[in-house]
Symmetry: C2
Subunit: 217 residues, 2 copies
């Protein structure tokens, strides 16, 4: 069955369900419930049932969901059987961590190349990932069928890097640069700003302070 | 004005608005509009206006928002004037990148210490951040007033690390371990799974494939 339109918020939860299902299978569970999946995903059970209904999957009352079947359905929706080669742009601390992140390859996102402007490291490898100069992006994308560009450059190089990726035909960008990059409509950008997550935690800490402490000048 | 209840989705966008406002101020803009902020945040202008109304801030028709005033209001809501010390747990590639991430300190989240189980690195420093053993977490939290624990350990050490943080009194955890950790209700956990972001991009790439290619066995 081809999946119909799936809401963006549901898509964002599918990887979480898939991870939970993998853990449940590893623990020997043959069936599970929307309650279990809900707790692990941090949503309510009704939302889980709604999310999974978009995949055409409905649990059996009193039995729940078959773990193997559901794993298959979620994997299929996510296109897990496919492999999407990744290029990491910018090899500072974060870029190196991303280039070496084994979880990417395990889930179908092999890092096939990295680029950096530092001539001292182009031509070397980082954990078997070859490092090239940014002016080779188009060549790398063509040679490896790169599907996703990861931007881990300083903020002031992010737009230029995005432009090179887009010009090379990359349609999906994961941006860690803490800046907003502008791309054509056919390109999807997801932004991961590590400070944003801390600021959200900070907001809640701030709200919990007694009023006289929480007041800012 | 004390902020009333602000929806979680709005809270998540406040750091994005704050970043945009900082950039606009740096570019010399005295006023801005919900259109400009919306484009940078990737939402529609009505949502921006609604979000900002929770802060008690309304733009002036035909003029827009005063950049300085709005920066002040968003900062105040986020508690940006406060400083929330952070401990990074696990110094693999990602942990090292996080411990060295200058953006954290700049935004009020100084990394005051790191912990790792490797006795070869405890007692050393990573970019001036002292590295301790995990059994010192309680001591570190008390000594530095640690507000946020960052988990960058392998998945199989994440729960144990979370338990140590919670026992030490930490109420906010940012989890990069790709596992779901269980904590008491009074503790907030935000999960950043780098592979999840790639899987969401992969979903859209998958949807764009011609049906015969997109089919999975």
């Amino acid at each position: 069955m081809a999946t119909g339109h799936i809401p963006e918020a549901t898509v964002a939860r599918l990887p979480v369900y898939l991870r939970s299902l993998t853990e449940l299978a590893a623990a020997g569970d043959a069936t599970t419930s929307s309650d279990v999946l809900a707790e692990r995903a941090g949503v309510n059970p009704a939302k889980v049932r709604k999310d999974l209904s978009y995949l055409g999957t409905h649990g059996t009352r009193g039995v729940g969901y078959d773990v193997r079947h559901l794993t298959f359905e979620v994997s299929r929706a996510l296109g897990v059987a496919n492999t999407w080669p990744v290029v990491v742009c910018g090899l500072g601390n974060l870029g190196r961590a991303l280039a070496k992140h084994t979880g990417f390859t395990e889930r179908g996102f092999p890092v096939v190349a990295a680029v950096d402007i530092d001539p001292a490291i182009t031509g070397t490898t980082v954990d078997d990932v070859p490092v090239h100069s940014p002016d080779q992006i188009a060549e790398l994308v063509a040679a490896h069928g790169v599907a996703i560009g990861v931007i881990a450059t300083p903020g002031n190089a992010a737009q230029e890097t995005a432009d090179l990726l887009v010009a090379a035909g990359v349609r999906s960008i994961l941006d860690f640069s803490s800046t907003v990059v502008t791309v054509p409509d056919h390109v999807e950008v997801r932004t991961v700003d590590l400070s944003t997550e801390l600021q959200i935690l900070g907001f809640h800490l701030h709200q919990d302070l007694p009023p006289e402490v929480g007041k800012t000048p």
